[in-house]
């Protein structure tokens, strides 16, 4: 008799089904629909919505590692921005170096972009491994020291970037193949934002698969809730944490390439500039929750684009306002992790 048939006996009876909490996802839809009459033009609304989703996806890619790192080991990594900056600067080198080779070929230009992502992913993973070992490991369980030393690590990282790439800003133009827009009726949807959205969805799907369909994912989800119990079951949570830290850093490097191409200008402080945004996203989402991080990032992206169009001055505070509103509704975030 298999496990499936063993539990099938119960399946014929009324098994209580766990209800998925759709309300945070509905909130996304409500905000998007509420913006439509305010914006007026449906084509502008489509353009802004796609732009908001693309921005949200990039933020999600960057923040997903940060939320797991905090969830698993209570580590407040304020140095996450250095991996973003590294990714963006590596993109300037790799794409700059491949520009002549790529020439006018769209496929070669795309290959240059994906090569930049791959190199940035690997380099940020390697830096993440060193960062965890040298900077984070000595301050496990000491929040104040974590804040100070990880911020210090980021400052040192930025200075090293200046040593390698120089202090001046470096342009990171989109290759021709990603310039311009697709037309959906009257709405113009930028090609690059479609690519960023697609990459974000792939990352989300890969993370969701890993977390929900693999034993490693099960361990991560359990470790976020009660790491002591995971150790009591015989698993080395520290080793798992290093793996998550490295993966999170690598994703931040990938996100750095996307963010750099989104800004089209790269400066050493590019990571520090989004740090606050990242913490807003992981707090809104519920610390340690990947799904919450995903929905939170999309909310932030949409709000930034809608308010930027409707009331540019309000846009400066829109994300803070969003965080306050979400925390008034759900003080533990959109998808709180139980036991935290």
């Amino acid at each position: 008799m298999t496990v499936a048939s063993t539990v099938r006996v119960a399946a014929s009876a009324t098994i209580p089904k766990a209800q998925f909490d759709w309300r945070p996802v509905l909130l996304l839809a409500v905000i998007a629909l509420a913006a439509l009459p305010l914006i007026g033009s449906p084509s502008t609304w489509v353009t802004l919505t796609v732009a908001g989703l693309a921005m949200g996806m990039i933020i999600f890619i960057i923040a997903s590692g940060l939320t797991l790192v905090f969830g698993l080991m209570d580590v407040l990594n304020f140095g996450h921005g250095v991996f973003i900056a590294l990714g963006a600067f590596i993109a300037t080198t790799v794409m700059g170096g491949m520009t002549v080779w790529a020439g006018d070929s769209g496929a070669a230009q795309l290959l240059a972009v994906f090569s930049a992502m791959l190199v940035a992913f690997a380099a940020a993973a390697a830096l993440g491994w060193a960062f965890e070992r040298v900077i984070v490991r000595p301050v496990y369980g000491m929040h104040l020291k974590q804040i100070l030393i990880t911020m210090g690590g980021m400052i040192i990282g930025e200075e090293l970037i200046k040593v390698i790439w120089g202090p001046a800003q470096i342009p990171l133009p989109l290759p021709d193949v990603l310039r311009g827009s697709f037309l959906l009726g009257d709405a113009a949807v930028e090609k690059y934002r479609v690519l960023a959205t697609a990459i974000g969805l792939v990352v989300f799907a890969a993370l969701a698969f890993t977390l929900n369909r693999t034993k490693i994912g099960l361990l991560i989800r359990a470790g976020v809730q009660d790491r002591e119990m995971v150790e009591s079951l015989g698993y080395r949570i520290r080793r798992l944490f290093v793996g998550v830290f490295v993966a999170g850093s690598a994703l931040a490097g990938l996100g750095g390439v996307l963010w750099g191409l989104y800004q089209q200008i790269v400066i050493p402080q590019i990571g520090a500039q989004v740090n606050v945004l990242l913490f807003i996203v992981i707090i809104i989402g519920g610390l340690g929750s990947t799904l919450g991080c995903f929905v939170g990032a999309l909310l932030v992206g949409l709000m930034a684009n809608y308010t930027g169009f409707l009331a540019p001055k309000v846009a400066l505070f829109s994300n803070i306002g969003l965080m306050v509103a979400v925390l008034l509704w759900r003080p533990q975030g959109l998808y709180p992790v139980t036991n935290r």
């Binding site: 209580p16 089904k17 766990a18 009660d226 995971v230 009591s232 079951l233 698993y235 080395r236």
Partner: protein, 248 residues
């Protein structure tokens, strides 16, 4: 067979500090293989600290813990668990956001997914705790207190273990649920599972225990057979400040 060979677990003069506090003051007792040893004592006597020290969740500052004759001192919790010691904490340690199935897959170190769980063992567990079969795909956090405790125990026995450390399983549970747990523990006992059980429910302690160690102020003040303690009201009064006879 020598007495040493019968002892699965031995604590020898174990001292444990938690921060500035000196909690265990030279705890010494042993757990014999195939027996249920009850660890009794008033609140704050050091019972939970003893279990956590055995698991390596808190390190002993002095003394030694030996399992199958080998020292566990200085070993990390995962290494201790890998030797075949399962721990059910007082808080149960259930992963609330995971389903019943996922909790059990996680506890079965050899299984990567539910299909790799030992079917016969799973059926045996469902026989002990039918509710787990009914709520198989339900988030563990939504279970009742008694069902969570059943899941916590099931997690400890989903794979064969040499020793179970169980901390106050009856705490806060209704009498009927406690009855279910006693039946399950009796089944484990029939299978010669070695258990070190911390318990405040003396009816449960008396019905399950083969041996007993009584703690007070961070030290073991009495060891012997459970029957001897159960039959001696004066000893109960002296050690625990109560009579087992009135706690049934």
């Amino acid at each position: 067979m020598s007495v040493a060979a019968q002892n699965l677990l031995e604590l020898d003069g174990v001292h444990t500090h938690i921060g500035a506090y000196h909690i265990l003051h030279g705890v010494s007792f042993s757990v014999r293989e195939g027996e249920v040893t009850m660890l009794l004592g008033r609140n704050g006597a050091g019972k939970t600290t003893t279990l956590r020290t055995i698991m390596g969740l808190w390190q002993a500052s002095r003394g030694d813990v030996r399992f199958k004759g080998q020292s566990l001192k200085g070993q990390a919790t995962p290494d201790i668990a890998a030797r075949g010691i399962a721990y059910v904490p007082e808080s149960m340690g259930i992963f609330s956001d995971l389903t019943v199935q996922e909790n059990l897959v996680l506890a079965a170190r050899a299984a990567h997914h539910a299909g790799e769980l030992d079917t016969q063992r799973l059926e045996w567990i469902f026989g002990l705790f039918p509710a787990l079969q009914k709520f198989w795909l339900y988030p563990a956090g939504k279970l009742s207190g008694g069902q969570k405790q059943m899941l916590a125990v099931a997690r400890a026995i989903v794979e064969p273990r040499a020793l179970l450390l169980i901390d106050e399983p009856s705490k806060g549970l209704a009498p009927s649920i406690i009855g279910n747990l006693i039946s399950a523990f009796n089944e484990l006992k029939r299978q010669r599972t070695t258990i070190l059980l911390v318990e405040q429910n003396f009816h449960m302690a008396r019905s399950l225990g083969d041996a007993v160690a009584v703690m007070d102020n961070g030290a073991v003040v009495h060891t012997g057979s459970m029957r001897e303690l159960a039959d001696d009201e004066a000893l109960q009064q002296r050690l625990l400040g109560l009579s087992l006879g009135v706690h049934q």
